[in-house]
Amino acid sequence: MKGSVRFSNVNKAFRWRGPRSPHETIKGAIFHRRTRRREPSWEQYVALDGIDLEVTTGEAVAVIGPNGSGKSTLLKLIGGILKPTSGRVEVSGRVTALIEVGAGFHPEITGRENVVINGMLLGLSRREIEERMQEIVDFADIGPFIDQPVKIYSSGMYVRLGFAVAVATDPDILLIDEVLAVGDEAFTRRCLDRLARMRQRGVTMVLVSHDLDLVTSFADRALYLDRGRIITEGPADAVAARYRSDVAEGTGRDNSTLPAREDDGETRWGNGDVEIDGVELLVGGRGSRIVAGGSPCSIRIRYSVHKPTEDFVFGVAWHRSDGMQVSGHNTDLAGLEPIRLVTDGEVYCEYESFQLAPGEYLVDVAIHARDGLAYDYWCDALKVRVTSEVEWPGVWSPPLRWRSTGPEWGKSTEPRRRIPVDNDE
């Protein structure tokens, strides 16, 4: 399967000679050996210790943990940049690493020429790069600087161009190491939007981040590493919660159970005749917490019936975290006449095109009787992040176009004010 990763009992140890310098010298190699033969001459640092990991095609996995826990080493092993000391690493498909994007740009030559070289280093052919050049230039959005030597770039431009090349390589597996932490807000938003779109296309992603909000909205699954070992692994929000509580306590490395789910008492009520077992956002047929504005998606409600009924309504309501109602829809309003509800099953609410402005939204899901009696009413059952290349006020993001007869316009190069262009490939 293209785009899958499998680690079997992978260990990675770094070693160097002597306690002070990681680099040997010839002098050191000759004299050290003689004078201190009795002492162990290698200092060893175990970065990863017995890691088993399986990432399937199209999955998004986050790796979290304190600094020095082995997260970046893990990414570099997937990327083939490092080799494991022992164990097996199997990776299928083209891997692109977003690790310090733009690393290796040569300062003396132009951005455009660097794009060619960087793209080829990332595995594209020259022709493929030429074909995608316009797309890369558009995404980087650095204007005439593209034909200037890279040495005069600001650090922001550097990252933009590096990111643009990396995402244009069309990888099967994308490795992301904190790249979203750099760049201005507008660019970060566009990056996130691009990543969300790639995810919807089925690109496997492994993400290292300290931004737990990003982790929970972006990843299906998370891996919590500490000192080279997997502390826990599971659904992203549960793992993130565990990590949060460990950080808050300052220790707590040893208890290996997941924290209990947050108390649902106040935000969920109902008589339980019909029970919601799970609510998911599906994007491109896969569970997700993030959706690119304008793409199709659906809400899946899994339920079980404890007491068969002939009076039932399924509903979904969207609102913003500040309480503003966005939209509410249910089967009754849609004209669906309930006949009977006996067996457990799933109900889908499908959106042809998800036209919300970028931001975070909360979803309430309910199963109730037509008179309002709640079987199961679950507030904030789901938190969804909507991405977009640009940001604007409000909650509605309709597909639109401006037409005019009088005024003349130029195209702004300032991304914040640019007319949104849907460049979904």
Partner: protein, 266 residues
Amino acid sequence: MTVIRILWRHRALIAVLVRRDLDARYRASVLGFFWSLINPLLLLAVYAVVFTYIFSPRFPGGDPYPLFLFSGLLPWLFFSGAVLDGSATLIDNGPLLAKVMCPPELFPAVTVLSHLIHHLLALPILFLAMVASSVAGLHAFPWTFPLVMVALVPWLLTTGGAVFAISVLSVHYRDMRDLVGHLLNLLFFSSPIIYSLEGLQVPVLLHRILILNPLASLVTVYRDAVFAGRVSPPQLWLTAFAVGGVSWWLGTRVFAAYRETVVEAV
């Protein structure tokens, strides 16, 4: 051979990287690529003045001395330039190696190839100098000049092997670079570049040592073609190719031994 295979598979990338090397070097300078011509010419001028007016070496087959010198100096500059740059190439490209999966073999290869191109750019100068001096009647034109392309093969192999070994060693042993400078100096003066081994008035022991210098055959084969106008004896050609082969074999072996730890060490 795996090194060759890796290099062949990435030939397009190598070509682009060589171009980048040349571009980057010349873009910021006023004279641009003329530097590949000016550098050897300046060096030649210095040596020519010193050795014609200050010391005047006398040995058979050494006239006119500046031309003799130039024909020995050119391949040496290719070798020494590549080796010097080679000691830094992996370290300089460290950020790339640590972030992008690309075979480390590329960088020493790029170093060697871009120096080879400098060398090829300087060859016409040598050719014109030979033409000029034969027109002026100072020297018979060396009709064996095209053999330079064959003589370059052992040079390329030797340089390649040396650069592969030194690039990877200087990553693991950081004082390698200092050492390389001294070794090159020693090698320069022990090679028949500013003098000829023929009719050399030195103690027998020293003469033997000088003959053992692996570069001696390479220098002689090259100079026989472009300056003396004769085809070197077969055993000299064999020696030169053997030196090239051994150097390449040894260099790539050393590289392979240290290859896996390059990323960690840079």
